[in-house]
């Protein structure tokens, strides 16, 4: 591992950190605008992007083995089962 490489990794972390702060700021600023029915999906999407950034880079998911990636995706899939089937009830009452 060269020092050069290390510096690059460090710069990437800092860059992503700035991106995260930007997304947080955008999401907070977004509350000042009336986006109507789109407000909730937009805010959740921005938060989802932040989650993806943290998971893939800070938790090094991208560099992890395929097995670990499958495990991470599995958790999303099961959370989806929980939400979709529960809302199948609440949305059709």
């Amino acid at each position: 591992m060269s020092d050069d490489n290390e510096t690059r990794v460090r710069h990437r972390f800092v860059g992503l950190y700035v991106l995260l702060l930007g997304l947080l700021g955008a999401n907070m600023a977004g509350t000042l605008i009336d986006a109507g029915g789109l407000a909730i999906p937009i805010r959740l999407s921005v938060a989802a992007v932040m989650v993806v950034v943290i998971a893939t880079s800070f938790m090094r998911l991208r560099q992890s083995s395929a097995l670990v990636q499958v495990v991470a995706v599995m958790s999303l899939l099961w959370i989806m089962f929980l939400f979709v089937l529960t809302f199948a009830d609440f949305l059709t009452r």
Partner: protein, 525 residues
């Protein structure tokens, strides 16, 4: 020098990191819980001999069936096969020296005991009368029992199964001996793996549900409180998201055990190995998508009910396939009827009836009648007791020589298998009819016309008690007086039969290399 005589002090057991000794710790503790739950069931059945509520008070009766449910589900059935035989055999079958995380393994037993202590505290400090389902708002606002202590106990014991699940998954992925590919694994390992997935994916939802229930009960932080606009049906969704897959935590390991036993005693490779392996995974996956079939008349949307019913029918297909494949395994085999095989065959019969009556309750229009009646009680006892406990007994007898190095008395074991089968059917078959006729469950006193079938049921329970006490006696007896078992008394295949009985402390001096399929019964060992 084997793992049993490698050390004698209490400390060598209580601080052991050897998976084989941890399995013993679990064996002893879940046996205790089994007979505690059984004692509660005995009182329930005694009460139900007569229609009037005369033996126990209503309060005592409600506590007994709640205790029976909580203890049997969380402190016996869920840990039963994985924590005992799974713990003992998984590394042996994988050719590994131990679990991936031996300390975690020991810790999960301590967590289990801690959870048990809380639950027993609940029993002493006022009892628990919510049933094992803890439905709100009864559990949060109306019950006078020690709900908080019991829920804490269940919450804690949940972590024990989460830790066991993580350990098993990592072990199966990372510790397989060279040459032991996924499709060379015994089906027992597949079953443990799928079970562990369910433990890891379902249990946390129960944990958070109990946390929310706990803060509501303890601090009045209403989450499900209808008076604040909270929704009791939401609790049911969260509860059953765990508790339906939990049925498969109990059932899948049983299917694994039965596959091993049938292959050995038919002396033949399991028919359709890959179908069997994939159907285990399919059951584990689909098991997560059907929880709403517990709520067909709960006030859930009827459209959601229709969707959950369809998914429930789909999950029964892989289970049906497994039964057919076990039958096909017998075809042209060399079948021996030793006690493990008798238990395994009774598993098939009872699981078949349990499964088919499950199709009845998955049928929406019939479930209107059967929901919360004795039909449901009979159905899930056929799966959990008839199925799961029979398989547990099958596995216990099958691997007893391996675990202890001693043979059990064969004749007594066959007698006990037959008594259990007969007693079980006498206990629970009448309950199907009772439920169809409309006797609700959890009734302390009941209408007079239900008495005859209840008398049958209670008589059967007596038989069942004898059938379960016998093994306790003769297995203990065999520990001292049983004949010495060789390394492989059943002429079985699999890595666990290649080591001495009981296995040495360091199971594998050199890591074995595997170059054949599982169940290679065609080739002499």
């Amino acid at each position: 020098m084997n793992y049993l005589n490698a050390g004698y002090g209490l400390k060598s057991w209580l601080l052991t990191l050897d998976h084989k000794r941890v399995a013993w710790l679990y064996f002893i503790s879940i046996t205790g819980f089994f007979f505690l739950g059984g004692a509660a069931a005995t009182l329930v059945r005694l009460e139900l001999i007569t229609p009037a509520g005369d033996l126990l008070s209503s309060d005592a009766y409600n506590q007994m069936f709640s205790l029976h449910g909580i203890v049997m589900v969380w402190f016996f059935l869920i840990p039963s096969i994985p924590a005992t035989m799974g713990n003992f055999l998984l590394p042996l079958m994988l050719g590994a020296r131990d679990m991936a995380f031996p300390r975690l393994n020991l810790m999960s037993w301590y967590v289990f005991i801690l959870g048990g202590a809380f639950t027993l505290t609940a029993v002493i400090a006022g009892g628990i009368d919510t049933g094992w389902t803890f439905y709100t708002p009864y559990s949060t606002m109306f019950s006078n029992g020690a709900v908080l202590a019991a829920a804490t106990g269940v919450f804690i014991v949940g972590f024990s199964s989460i830790l066991t699940g993580i350990n098993f998954i990592v072990t199966t992925h990372k510790m397989r001996a060279p040459g032991l590919t996924w499709f060379r694994l015994p089906l027992f390992v597949w079953a443990q793996y799928a079970t562990s997935l369910i433990m890891v994916l379902a249990t946390p939802v129960l944990s958070i549900t109990l946390v929310l229930l706990g803060v509501e009960r303890a601090f009045g932080i209403g989450i499900f409180d209808p008076a604040l606009g909270g929704d009791p049906i939401l609790f049911e969704h969260l509860f059953w998201f765990y508790s339906h897959p939990a049925v498969y935590i109990m059932l899948l390991p049983a299917m694994g055990v039965v596959s091993e036993v049938i292959a050995c005693f038919a002396h033949k490779r399991i028919f359709g190995y890959k179908v069997m392996a994939f159907s285990i995974l399919a059951i584990a996956l689909f098991g997560f998508l059907v929880w709403g079939h517990h709520m067909f008349v709960s006030g859930q949307s009827i459209y959601a009910g229709v969707a959950f019913s369809l998914l429930s029918f789909l999950v029964s297909v892989p289970s049906a396939l497994k039964i057919f494949n076990w039958l096909a395994t017998l075809y042209k085999g060399h079948i021996r009827f030793d006690a493990p095989m008798l238990f395994a065959l009774s598993f098939i019969g009872l699981f078949l009836i349990g499964g088919l009556t499950g199709v009845f309750v998955a049928t929406l229009a019939l479930d209107i009648q059967m929901h919360d009646t004795y039909f449901v009680v009979a159905h899930f006892h056929y799966i959990m007791v008839g199925g799961m406990v029979s398989a547990y007994m099958a596995g216990l007898h099958f691997w007893w020589p391996k675990i202890t190095g001693r043979l059990y008395p064969e004749m007594w074991a066959r007698v006990s298998a037959i008594i259990v089968f007969a007693g079980f059917n006498l206990t629970f078959f009448p309950q199907f009819i009772l439920g169809w006729a409309g006797m609700p469950r959890r009734y302390h006193a009941y209408a007079e016309e239900f008495q005859l079938l209840n008398v049958f049921s209670s008589a059967g329970a007596g038989m069942l008690a004898v059938g379960y006490l016998l093994p306790l006696l003769y297995l203990l007896w065999s520990l001292r007086y049983g004949a010495r078992a060789g390394g492989n008394p059943w002429d079985a295949r699999g890595l666990e039969w290649t080591v001495a009985s009981p296995p040495p402390k360091e199971t594998f001096a050199t890591v074995p290399r595997v170059d054949s399929e599982a169940y290679a019964y065609d080739t002499p060992q």
